[in-house]
Symmetry: C2
Subunit: 209 residues, 2 copies
């Protein structure tokens, strides 16, 4: 039995009456839960897919380019251009230290980049990938001032990373417009950065192409 | 046995050798698949969680406000402020007609809004919610010129929508900054809109609060 992080707890007005494991493998656990909620005082059932927490990294070089990897994504039988990302070990809490350690490890392993002198790491909160069905949530980091790591990348044999490249802000805008960037990790990081004025387009042409 | 949409097919260099269903209920199907990929010619196994395709709707009133719902999200035991969204029936293809019909249905059912005279619907491509583990993908629509629907909302008894409200662009920026908006549907729509200059902040203060 996997040990789980304690991220999800009964919030105000919520009570988890029962959790039954319907299916489990090393990557996910399907739970049938019985719960009451603020709007439903009579217990009802829900299917929850439990996954590890994740960390996605928006990493910029000193020149402002974003580090991206092109990775094979088996459920889609396609490769996607994405920000580096990875999962937090179940045995770890989701404190800032674990989140940053996970993010920086994935940035180095997947892309071969590390924090340079004077670089900065900022937390961008988390997002929920599909909150009606899974408790998966991904913390986002904004890392400025990354440089090629001395040892290069060390890719996990279970991952298939085909390319690593640095894209300018203008290229990122084009890739979001065209749908080339289409994974939630990268898009949610960009939405958060956009709310801080750190990324966006001023060009309103071309919508709906 | 559920009928599945044909969204995922073997792309160039991919070959699906075997699909074995490990678990299934009305909401998801866990598949153990055996596949070869462009970078791995020897067949390997992967767990794929199959889900229906979805549609999320960034709907703006004629004044530019965004329609949002506050919804209980059982996997998190919390409620989230989100754009209206729903799933495409498995029996339907993922053509524009089905996507728009699903999006407009959810906008009306969940939020009680419909397209007004002179309103416009534009497609914003799709995003993948967690492409390492699930084929779930959500089409995004940008609907401008929505008005309260004559019949109001008709919420599904299985959903718990607590509030419907229209937020200004400035309020949305604040909610993304604070982490109040934290679901992939809404953030991915905002990232796409941001790439078209249709949403963003020009205020760079406050990052990392």
């Amino acid at each position: 039995m996997t040990r789980f992080h304690q991220f999800v707890t009964d919030g105000e007005g919520w009570e988890t009456k029962r959790v039954e494991v319907s299916f489990e493998n090393p990557y996910l656990q399907i739970q049938k839960i019985q719960v009451t909620s603020p709007s439903r005082s009579e217990a009802f059932e829900w299917t929850v897919c439990h996954r590890k927490g994740g960390v996605a990294v928006a990493a910029q070089t000193p020149e402002g380019g974003f580090v991206m990897i092109r990775q094979e994504r088996v459920p889609f039988r396609e490769s996607f251009w994405e920000f580096p990302a990875g999962q937090i070990e179940e045995s770890q809490g989701h404190d800032q230290e674990a989140i940053i350690a996970t993010g920086m490890r994935e940035l180095e392993e997947e892309a071969g980049y590390a924090l340079g002198q004077g670089g900065e790491v900022e937390s961008l909160h988390y997002y929920a990938s599909s909150p009606g069905f899974t408790d998966e949530h991904v913390y986002m980091l904004w890392v400025r001032g990354v440089v090629p790591a001395l040892g290069g990348s060390h890719q996990d044999p279970g991952e298939s990373i085909l390319e690593v490249r640095v894209f300018s802000g203008a290229e990122i805008v084009g890739m979001v417009r065209s749908g080339t960037i289409r994974d939630a990790n990268t898009l949610c990081c960009l939405a958060r950065l956009g709310a801080f004025g750190a990324w966006a387009s001023n060009d309103r042409t071309g919508i709906g192409e």
